[in-house]
Amino acid sequence: MLFVFLRKFLLVIPTLIGASLIAFALIRLVPGDPVLNLLGERGGNPQVVAEMRAKLGIDKPLAEQYWIFLKNALHGDLGDSIVSNRPVAEEFWSRFPATLELAGVSLVWSILLGLPLGILAALRRNSALDYSVIGVSLIGYSMPIFWWGLILVIVFSVQLGWFPVSGRLSVFFEVPPKTGFLLVDSLLSEEGWSAFVDAVKHLVLPSIVLGTIPLAVMARMTRSSLLEVLGEDYVRTAKAKGLSWFRVVYVHALRNALIPIVTVVGLMVGALLTGAVLTETIFSWPGIGRWLVKSVEARDYPVIQGGVLYLAFLIVMVNLIVDLTYLWIYPRMRSRT
């Protein structure tokens, strides 16, 4: 187990270097450069532009630029954003909690709802309930979430007025950022409970949007993996032995439910960003996704390089944990990998 872990962990390093190289190269292949973007309509004489490029260090040969980036990155310095002139790390960590909070809440409710739905559907196979779970999860799985978000906003914010249109917290609450997670910070602040309720209200629609696809996957996978287990010999034996229906399902369902949960968590991390970019765009959510897309538009090279490196690290680590969890659940898979 330790060996497997070490081997997989060592593979992370070339993957990360490769990812940073691709991010570095691709963003520089994009025509247009950060200086011109900053100058906008006004242009600027070529000499001024050249000076500004020199100050940013983007006039050096590409290989040298990459080497500098890599060297600094090893020392934990990802450079400064060209747009804001602030360190990339600071910019990243001040936005990351917002994305994490949204993703976490979405994930939790999709598991809490998806798991029992999947179990119920499997237990009552071919019932009306089963068919509706299959149907709903199919639609959820196929949902263009940007559209779904817009529809929810029209209905629940604009027409019914139940939830706020966008943002994380009403501006009338002054919550000092301590952890960056508003659900925690709001409770720690002076306004306490009322700020917390407000933060929850802001979270409802975005987390529904971001949680839709994980919910669908969760319900589907729970259902199919449970059906598979229920058909297997040892369960039949257990049943034949006279173990109660409840006990069989409870013990085996719970154990097997870990697989869909782990899979969904793994899937979410990849989908997290895709979903987050769209969800954050619709709800003006101040997270990582929107920031990175804006940085591509502004050709903010250090932000793209640094941000991608962070996210690649995150994705790789989560995938690693998912893989290891599989191994832990299914020791017999060990021989295969």
Binding site: V30, P31, G32, D33, P34, V35, L36, N37, L38, L39, G40, E41, R42, G43, G44, N45, P46, V48, E51, M52, K55, L56, D80, I82, V83, S84, N85, R86, E91, S94, R95, V153, S157, V158, G161, P164, V165, S166, G167, R168, S170, V171, F172, E174, P177, T281, S284, P286, R290, W291, E297, A298, R299
Partner: protein
């Protein structure tokens, strides 16, 4: 017994006073809560930082220079006229090369957790603010990236030869050339005055970048906090030299999407919103809780013909295309009639606007004849680049492109629409790779030079802002002469003449002067629109 009852009475009294004092405190608290007026402005984008010297974008200026800082001279609210700011008065030498500013006395800088000012504003602060941008060996020059885009693109480094402190309250600017718009430049955002005492303190503390992230200025509002991409908080500056603002707290709620801003205004989450979408204005006007105000903008939207490529070398072709565009239809469909037809390369709000000039009328028949005369009886094929971003001067480049395409097809000119994303668009157009290109300009300082010289002179071909790549010797020398003259009458004459040449040569199709709009809750009083599209909140109040 007596004693006891006395005790008892005393206890009662104590209790009563206790209850009353609590009540009093409670009342006081509620009064305080009611008294704290918070004004919420929903802005269109995040500021790139809080140092206006390092930025070129409106959201940053609104969040920094207009709220926190002051300049030596300032634009009179609602106009493009210059009035006294941190300088009480000023004088210009006869040769136009020396500007002497007498500074205002008793102006206090803000304080924050890191810094308490020990002295009032003086000449050192002026020197610091400009020398940081001007001198590459200044200790602050390289801080926060050290790219002073505006300062550089206005060529201020070259124009300012030296800045001299005559005494604590007098500063002299020596210029290397006559520069009529100089005074107006001193009212621009990059000319904001920073505290040199704060800068020294931060340099000592080895955290010089704090000057840019935790700003200290003299302006109407004191910076409190910034949550990235979400909120900026300010409190009113009680010592502001023009009087304490009427609101107590100011919040910028960052909301990039125009339709979301409108929704937030409707549900009361904003008091004032930036850049309402043109298509929403009618429904805003019909809402009795919302007030819409508008004014003439300081901008122009245009289509530039690349006068160095293909058929556009010929004046007749440029004229013909000008006649082929049904510009009135664009105003209706693209600007929703929130704009005025543009006749000149600069808007009528700027002095020296030539009213005698009338733009081309829609006349496809005549356009065809002109094309034939120029040697293109069957028209030709060409490309048009459509603006990839929504700007006040052109809210939808794509849609306008589609309409122009249809108009040009009528005179036999086949147009392919092309677009790139914004930085690419800028880079390629600077190199002159385009045939026809949509662009626009929002004025910086209200001076005609800022339009005519910036966008159409021979010099600006190299700097890239002259997208027609049109170099007309006569036009350029007129504009250059006007720049070197300080007599307004003479300048007016020269600029009027320059506009005539522009009309004759038709390097652009001028499209629109867009009007500036703001929508706000009916509770907002005292808000005034600025021609530059900037936001000033010092006079704003809530009913």
């Amino acid at each position: 017994m007596v004693l006891g009852s006395g005790w008892d009475d005393g206890g009662k009294v104590m209790k009563i006073t206790f209850v009353f004092s609590i009540l009093f405190v409670l009342i006081l608290m509620t009064v305080q809560v009611q008294a704290a007026k918070t004004f919420v402005y929903c802005s269109e984008g995040s500021p790139s930082g809080f140092n206006p010297q390092l930025a070129t974008d409106g959201p940053t200026f609104n969040a920094s220079s207009h709220a926190i800082y002051n300049t030596l001279v300032e634009f009179k609210s609602g106009t493009t006229e210059v009035e006294a700011g941190l300088a009480e008065s000023w004088s210009i030498s006869k040769d136009g090369l020396t500007y002497i500013f007498k500074l205002r006395k008793g102006v206090q800088f803000h304080s924050n957790a890191l810094f308490k000012p020990t002295r009032n504003f003086n000449a050192d602060d002026v020197l610091f603010s400009f020398n940081r941008q001007r001198l590459s060996n200044h200790p602050y020059n390289k801080i926060s990236g050290g790219n002073y885009e505006y300062f550089a693109s206005m060529d201020m480094g070259k124009i300012i030869k030296d800045i001299v402190k005559k005494d604590d309250m007098t500063v002299e600017f020596h210029l290397s050339q006559r520069e009529a718009p100089f005074l107006a430049n001193m009212a621009m955002d990059f000319a904001s005055i920073f505290s040199s005492e704060y800068a020294d303190a931060m340099l000592k503390a080895k955290t010089p970048e704090k000057v840019d992230t935790d700003p200290i200025g003299t302006g109407p509002f004191v910076f409190k906090s910034y949550q990235k991409d979400t909120l900026i908080r300010y409190t009113a500056n009680p010592d502001f030299f023009n009087g304490k603002p009427k609101i107590d707290k100011l919040v910028f709620s960052i909301t990039p999407d125009a339709s979301v801003r409108f929704q937030k205004l409707k549900v009361g989450e904003c008091h004032l919103i930036a850049e309402p979408a043109p298509q929403d204005i009618d429904s805003m006007k019909s809402n009795n809780k919302i007030r819409v105000v508008e004014t003439e903008g300081l901008n122009v939207g245009y289509l530039a013909f690349n006068t160095r490529r293909g058929p556009f070398v010929k004046k007749e072709v440029r004229e013909a295309l000008n006649m082929a565009f049904n510009r009135k239809a664009y105003l209706e469909a693209i600007y929703m009639n929130r704009a005025v037809l543009a006749q000149n390369p600069m808007p009528p709000t700027i002095w020296s606007y030539n009213e005698k000039i009338k733009g081309f009328d829609y006349n496809p028949e005549k356009a065809k004849q002109l094309l034939a005369k120029a040697g293109y009886p069957k028209g030709f094929e060409t490309e048009m680049w459509t603006l990839p971003v929504s700007r006040p001067y052109n809210p939808s480049g794509k849609k306008m492109g589609e309409m122009m395409q249809a108009d040009l097809a009528k005179i036999g000119v086949k147009v392919k629409l092309v677009s790139f994303d914004w930085p690419t668009y800028l880079e390629k157009s600077r190199k002159g790779e385009h045939q026809m290109i949509q662009m626009g300009w929002i004025g910086d300082n209200g001076d005609p030079d800022n339009f005519l010289n910036m966008l159409l002179s021979c010099n600006s071909v190299t700097s890239g802002s002259n997208l027609a790549r049109w170099c007309n010797k006569k036009f350029s020398s007129l504009v250059e002469m006007a720049k070197q003259t300080s007599d307004i009458k003479k300048r007016t004459e020269l600029y009027k003449k320059a506009q005539e040449i522009f009309k004759e040569e038709a390097p652009w199709a001028t499209l629109a002067y867009a009007r500036v709009f703001r929508a706000m809750s009916v509770d907002v009083v005292g808000y005034q629109l600025q021609p530059f599209g900037s936001e000033l909140f010092e006079k704003v109040d809530l009913k």
